[in-house]
Symmetry: none
Subunit: 601 residues, 2 copies
Amino acid sequence: MTAYTLDLQPIGRRAQVRSGTTLLEGAQRSGVELVSVCGGAGLCGTCRVQQLEGDLTPVSADEREELSAAEIAAGWRLACQCEPLSDVKLYIPAESLSSAQRLQLEGAAAEIERDPVIRLVDVDLAPPSTEDLRADMQRLADHLGADYPASPAFMRQFAQTARTNDWSLRIAIRDGELIAALPRAQRALGLAVDIGTTGLAAYLIDLDTGVTLAKAGAMNPQIAYGEDVISRVAYASTHADGATVLQARLVTTLNDLVTTLCNQAGAQPQQVIEAVLVGNSAMHHLVVGLPVQQLGEAPYVPVMAAALAFPAAQIGLNIAPAAYVYLPPLIAGYVGADHVAMLLATGAPDADQTTLALDIGTNTEITLVAGGHCWSCSCASGPAFEGAHIKDGMRAAPGAVERIDLFDGKVMLKTIENKPPVGICGSGILDAVSVMVEHRLVNERGSLNAEHPLISERAFVLAPADPAAGTKAVSVTRQDVNEIQLAKSAIRTGIDLLLEAAGVEASAIESFVIAGAFGSYINVESAVKIGMFPALPRERFTQVGNAAGMGACHLLLSHAQRQIAADLVARVNYIELTTVPAFQDRFIANLMLTPPSKGQT
Amino acid sequence: MTAYTLDLQPIGRRAQVRSGTTLLEGAQRSGVELVSVCGGAGLCGTCRVQQLEGDLTPVSADEREELSAAEIAAGWRLACQCEPLSDVKLYIPAESLSSAQRLQLEGAAAEIERDPVIRLVDVDLAPPSTEDLRADMQRLADHLGADYPASPAFMRQFAQTARTNDWSLRIAIRDGELIAALPRAQRALGLAVDIGTTGLAAYLIDLDTGVTLAKAGAMNPQIAYGEDVISRVAYASTHADGATVLQARLVTTLNDLVTTLCNQAGAQPQQVIEAVLVGNSAMHHLVVGLPVQQLGEAPYVPVMAAALAFPAAQIGLNIAPAAYVYLPPLIAGYVGADHVAMLLATGAPDADQTTLALDIGTNTEITLVAGGHCWSCSCASGPAFEGAHIKDGMRAAPGAVERIDLFDGKVMLKTIENKPPVGICGSGILDAVSVMVEHRLVNERGSLNAEHPLISERAFVLAPADPAAGTKAVSVTRQDVNEIQLAKSAIRTGIDLLLEAAGVEASAIESFVIAGAFGSYINVESAVKIGMFPALPRERFTQVGNAAGMGACHLLLSHAQRQIAADLVARVNYIELTTVPAFQDRFIANLMLTPPSKGQT
């Protein structure tokens, strides 16, 4: 078996691959995560790389469809379609590199009072002797004055730590169970992770002080098995070990994050004595190891909706050996624990104000709190805001157009890291459509105004191609506008129907909370202009960033927050939108780009 | 139709037989395989049994041909030729038992009332629908009328089993936790295993009926890492992954046993919803995954002595995914859970009689019950009875000399499976030393009598070398006798010191219970003759076979038995022999081979 070296530039990574391996597989095995929306089928063109040196297998028919003759001449290839025939040097453009994506770690959060989930007790024990033959665990129980249950994992850690620390330790007690035995000098830490379908945001927290010691992000490695929740559920359901593979990949990345966070904080993974994981229902079920097939089929019921706590070792999470994982409750099959965590972080469940909080993604979850009651729903807003189904769409990676404005008839762009424009991300496409509506490049139905000087070849050209830089033109087509119409109508229809269920006018919303990575980067005015959000005064809108991650941190530190989560889920009214009679009519009406939806504001 | 009870000793099995059934048929129907070369025709004399109590049909002409008048006077009969006329107690000599396998599965046990540890509930659930979006677990909780906790492993099994069985299942509830979801038609099974240092004995039991469906034995695979407990503790302590390796090897064999048992019973491992494991403290700690180094160093304390219950998946035991493993408590570092199980099976803890129960091995554990109190100790009896440190010693395998007698100055041998003698096993060396003492081949200090005609080349030659058969001579040396002196003194000293602690004379022992594989094959008279056991009337001795295995079965079926185990351990007085001032003097005195220990009997 021959092995070749891949030299991956500009990131400077080398990878050994065996002949017969595609560049995509080779790069992924070496830890370089290339974007591969279609899973390596040669259909999406997202895994573009440029051949700088060496020989590759001949250009395939799929490559000829996805790449222009000029691109092929310049050495551009699809990494999933070719294999090395020698050592090879490759250029990987930023848009093909999924890990370069911006992952939001910061978030706004209400203040909470700490109410520790875990009690820490310092103990000094008498060592065993011929006169004192008590078993280790009996020795501890006598000292603590209570016979707390414990797992073998705790017993093992306790017996070893006691003997290497002169029987002087810190004992962690969780809900009446012994869960960790630390050397006296070690800090007790907690891990909070928001498991997004695309990205993970992880936080390491000192449980004594509540201080966040470290933060880190990572791509969700399950992306290799499907871009969105639906395709991952399908993968898990149609492959024998599908769910196990998805779980294992995710846990491997979680363990990498734990290592990264601990290195940042100068700590050891065994000091992490509690983990809080939040995610949508599919991420929740996959990480716990619950079946997901029924989440992909009507009536979309979860296996378990209540809060969960179980030993971290059960899923292979490498933290303290007897530590627990806690996951807050789900509201419904498509309103997950991440939404609950977000609501907690914003304080919405207990707000006196009429509050609407939403987290925009492929599914957009919305909760309305009014008069002490809660209503929630989930909208199928689709992946357009993540750059999918958009001709030049891409994730929020360097070179993505993220802001657009027209000034004196000229297009003004802002790209991520101010790199030459290579595509358009969610906030960019939202701005683009808003500009097109305002300046009448499209009508309210989404038809292009071919007469407009900025429309060229049936598209709104944001940036022309630059063959020297190897960049294509970036433009917005009618199909792109239509995708945004579908997305924004889904969201607005969800908002409208919740308001109707509650008997509240849109204008009565005192606080409109926009959570999530995408939501924190969007121009709210653009969302209002195209009718995605109701036209409220600007100051009523708040963009809170990764509030789900903040909520996870709160759940790590506060037992009371866990109780609030349970109470919230018990009292929320879940609205299954597709069963609401007015849904279809309202959805069609909300497809119009302007004026804002009738009946609202 | 009248039915009688056969009490089969020393294996301690009870069998119900109808009148008109021969003892041979009755024994065989209860699973006790007697040798019957002629197929019950009364011609071969292989099915010899001794009538101890009760009435049998008159001695037949065939029996008068096969048995001597003295034998008939002593109650010897051919099992194929006689039928019970009342309840009968029989002694079955080892040579009449056909199963040459020496991993003992059979054992005597007191009757217990069943008191299920696990509650089984049949449920029929309404499937989810658009009108009923409850999560699976909520659906079950509503049906059961209580929100029992459950692990993700249960949830996974429940969600899948429900959907493949039309939501009609059997739910197993253990101590308020949901632990298994079976298809309605499947039996719920339990696994009981006695984990010996040398061999494993495993039992598969129907939890609904209490019936033992299958039995299987296996060698302990840890033997590859050390013959005895001490060497395994050393291996675990001196190799980085030593304990993990020993645990993994053992669990692999346990899983093989589960497969074997399930195949025998036509069942699936996932039907096994509870496992009880018993073993000495080292086997207990190793299988649980607790550190063992401190078991090998003074003061020899266990990490955990109380009863343990934890998910079987934590040690990789492949039974029902959310099933638990239960291990009864230990009494001390060297008086393990197997001893507790043995005591339970014999009913000793609650006996009104003054009872002494012991299990002979490399360590011999002894418990004395008198006047409602309990005393226990452990003696370092060494591996001589397992054939180690004996010149021609071997395990109880085919060709091992297991019985020795002198008749008219000639050595009479019985070997296992009547194969040509290749060595001597524990019961054989015990008989040999007894014969040597009785016939003055050795004096009471263990010095050989070189003048004795049976002593040749400073050894008692049991069988000469047979160059034709390729066998060596089998003989007993002075060193061998000395090893037995050390072993028997350790055991007798333990017995003596327990009696002294209790203030009880040896003659007051009303029931002397000998458990374990070795103990069930020994000639009790030989043990008395060399002073290993006190000289009690023969009928006070009972050889109960693998009582630890029987105790494990009881613990599987009865919550009350688990309570009795906990109570026993709480009230037992553990005597650390080496700290008793009289120990050294008593040990030296007990090295004498005859007469029996002073101050006793």
